[in-house]
Assembly symmetry: C2
Homo-oligomer: 127 residues x 2
DNA sequence: CAGCATCCCCCCAGATACTG
DNA sequence: CAGTATCTGGGGGGATGCTG
């Protein structure tokens, strides 16, 4: 089923794992989602407002990582007070679409997840 | 682009996020992968061997979570010494397939990720 | 064999304060 | 406005020892 794995080098495998892990984590996913919904570049403070519950430090850190990974573009307008805008790269948009399809699949199968737990509880009760 | 999001409740959204985050994390992903490759139930000690670098505590914890999420089945054979086998549920197999397709997409686009970084470095150099 | 219990450590999220 | 700098605590994770 995963024969394709043998056709990738360890390095490719490792990088892909890291990218999945980072993009699917809590804050990165929410930031990408917000940026996608906005359909326009967002300032740092707009992101702080829309990504509810994030701290300013973590927002900065996460944006830096997303930038390094090539998923987000940071544009600094040298003025006072400074203005910085963030937007998805085409690649970031594409990656998010892939993650979203996984997301959608999970939502559509939430009932199955519930069913699994129900079976397990029944089995436990009978044991 | 994400209009489907409006058709899901906050609870669905939250659960899907958690499931993505947990399934895409480092250890869970590797464990699911190993179980899938094995094509047969694996004992605890076999998993310890094949999931390189994992500690016994983390393996236990992760397996418990995967079990709770309905992705893995744990079977205890009451004998001395005890024998415990783990295998994917059909749902776990399906979910892994979804994650793997995302994985495959990333590997196929690793060059694009590199290109993104190259562009960024050039832009920085010109600035 | 397959774990649970315990101890320990380190990292990082989060809060607060400050700055160009 | 968009960050850095600094401090702190809580938790994840490693190592070790014990048990049914």
């Amino acid at each position: 089923m995963f024969d394709f794995c043998s056709s990738m080098t360890d390095e490719q495998d490792g990088r892909a794992r890291e990218l999945i892990e980072r993009a699917a984590a809590k804050w990165p996913l929410r930031i990408l989602h917000v940026l996608s919904d906005a359909r326009a570049p967002l300032r740092f403070s707009r992101l702080m407002e829309r990504v509810e519950g994030i701290s300013q430090k973590v927002l900065t850190q996460t944006l830096r990582t997303l930038e390094r990974d090539g998923l987000v573009i940071r544009t600094l307008y040298p003025q006072v007070p400074p203005r910085v805008e963030y937007e998805l790269t085409p690649l970031g948009r594409d990656l998010l679409m892939q993650v979203v399809s996984l997301w959608r699949w999970i939502v559509e199968h939430l009932d199955d997840f519930d069913a699994c737990k129900a079976v397990k509880l029944t089995a436990t009760a009978n044991a």
